[in-house]
Symmetry: C2
Subunit: 339 residues, 2 copies
């Protein structure tokens, strides 16, 4: 796992430094550019940009050639977090108040739009490094990724708005593929491979690999929301239940519990958020233990990580052994081990 | 004026037809793609795309060569309306409930993000028609336009949030340049000229021309909000005062009225929206008449339109006389005559 931490520190650090060049030091500051710089300045592990740079390197080009694309990925990630936090009514992000809590919803929506535009700038600058053709392909990839994410977000938000009680595991997997995996793992892998190998990049198999790693990542993230350490996690613990988020654990619980318990969950989710009793949230959390929903989700995450390791061998097995390849190899185990 | 109506009907119609190819007929429908198609299906005059196509034609290329760019402009315009309506807490759009009233704020934010992404697609397809270099330039122009718009929107939202009473006419003009003119007139003119004349396009002077026409357009729009016909207008009459929007009329009134009246306006704007009394809104509206604020704004709009006509001669005077050139020539008078 050390290689994961090391490479994220090295590549992530380079991205955070370069990213600052793309955050304007201009008016309007208080109403716009202080806001667009807020989340990027809060840091983050840098998993996504590191995966992009490592993949470019594993496929034979320098990590430096992927730097601008990695910067774009990190900016886009932060832009999407701003709108996600409004849409999910999240109050905290990385241990501080969410942007819309600080600035109000109207200015936060506008800042999210602007940060997404700023994320396009390094992709245009890619022309100088990679030429017009590859630069255009990377723009197309970015737009596809953002659309897949928005489709996944629409599914999740719609389920929550309509208090959908019939979401099955297959629906959940499709939603996570779109909402989480495209940005977290598929897009960094595909853009890295495009930079490294051009038209020879194995774009379709990278969707499969990214799905396996990314879904294990998402399930682990949801488990940490229930079982983790609030300080390390930086969000409200148990917040997912409070927010009515359809997680694998909730879906398993709804499929396993009695009719009466199912109705009790439905009633809780139908209650306006501010009126949801802490005691009911705790009861759902305890029921997840009683019905083995937590344990079940852990097992699914392990299974996905195992399948990802197998997929890794097929995709990367014949490439030269580098630290970057070792990073990608270690990722499946890392995503389910992190706390 | 007939040429304005005719060309908007012809080019606007072509754009609306082609635009439908860029609105996905796919899942998730109810939670996403029905929402992204909602505003585009409500119609609109098509001023922006028509100006783009007419400018391309005036500068010597076919209007058809600008069709995809015009489609992108219309999609982007609709995308921005979705977020603007949320940020401005507008309840109606083109005579129907605003999207966030129909779908809820979270899904509407997400739909706005997605529609902006869909607007990038025709710009990528421009490669086939205009080649990679011009296609890339048009992408850059689009990103610049969207940033200028977001800066203007930030200024206006910030003033409203902080109940800024010291906004002067010069601040207002800068805000309108960014928020209105870049999308409504500058961007369609610049992209049209780039398609028509490539690197010989007079990009800087087109900012001046667009500012003059666009600001006259915005002032007329704000006048219609106070004096127009609600059915034809499609929004709540007097809604701008209710929303606390800083218009030229409000700025003129604040600068002209007594200290006591100024405090009465400030108190109204500081009241939570739902508690703002209709009688106070009417009082502000009447005061605008008494202090000549309405008449003053009309005169400024006329002055801007006159200067735009002069700028037109310098920019377009030497180009061949076409219906497209006549359209651009007639625009300054049209924007202040429309009701």
């Amino acid at each position: 796992m050390q290689v994961v931490r090391e490479l994220m520190a090295e590549y992530g650090g380079a991205v955070r430094t370069r990213m600052m060049d793309y955050l304007p030091d201009a008016e309007p500051r208080a109403y716009l550019y202080d806001l667009t710089a807020d989340y990027p300045r809060r840091g983050g592990r840098g998993l996504r940009p590191t995966l992009c740079m490592a993949t470019a390197r594993a496929f034979g080009r320098s990590a430096q050639d992927a730097l601008l694309t990695a910067v774009s990925i990190e900016l886009m990630h932060n832009a999407m977090l701003i709108h996600d936090d409004i849409e999910d009514e999240s109050e905290q992000r990385r241990g501080q108040p969410a942007l819309h809590i600080k600035a109000g919803i109207p200015l936060a929506i506008n800042a999210g739009d602007t940060l997404a535009l700023l994320a396009m700038r390094p992709l245009l600058d890619n022309r100088e490094v990679l030429g017009r053709e590859v630069a255009m392909l990377l723009l197309e990839e970015t737009i596809r990724m953002a659309r897949e994410s928005a489709e996944g977000q629409a599914m999740e938000l719609g389920w929550r708005r309509d208090n959908a009680m019939h979401v099955r595991e297959a629906d959940y997997m499709e939603m996570v593929l779109k909402k989480t995996c495209w940005l977290a793992t598929i897009h960094p892998s595909r853009t890295g491979a495009l930079i490294g190998a051009g038209r020879r990049a194995p774009l379709e198999p990278l969707i499969r690999f990214g799905f396996l790693v990314g879904t294990a990542f998402q399930i682990q993230d949801d488990l940490l929301n229930l079982c983790g350490d609030a300080t390390a996690y930086g969000k409200e613990l148990g917040g997912d239940i409070y927010e009515g988020k359809r997680t694998l654990m909730l879906i398993h619980l709804i499929e396993s519990c009695t009719q009466g318990e199912r109705e009790r969950i439905e009633a809780l989710m139908a209650t306006p958020r501010a009126d949801r009793a802490m005691s009911e949230i705790s009861w759902v959390r305890d029921a997840m233990d009683r019905y083995g929903s937590i344990e079940y989700a852990r097992q699914v995450a392990h299974g996905l990580a195992g399948a990802a390791a197998h997929e890794f061998s097929r995709l990367y097995g014949s490439l030269p052994d580098t630290r970057d390849k070792q990073f990608i190899q270690a990722l499946p185990a890392w995503v389910i081990a992190r706390s």
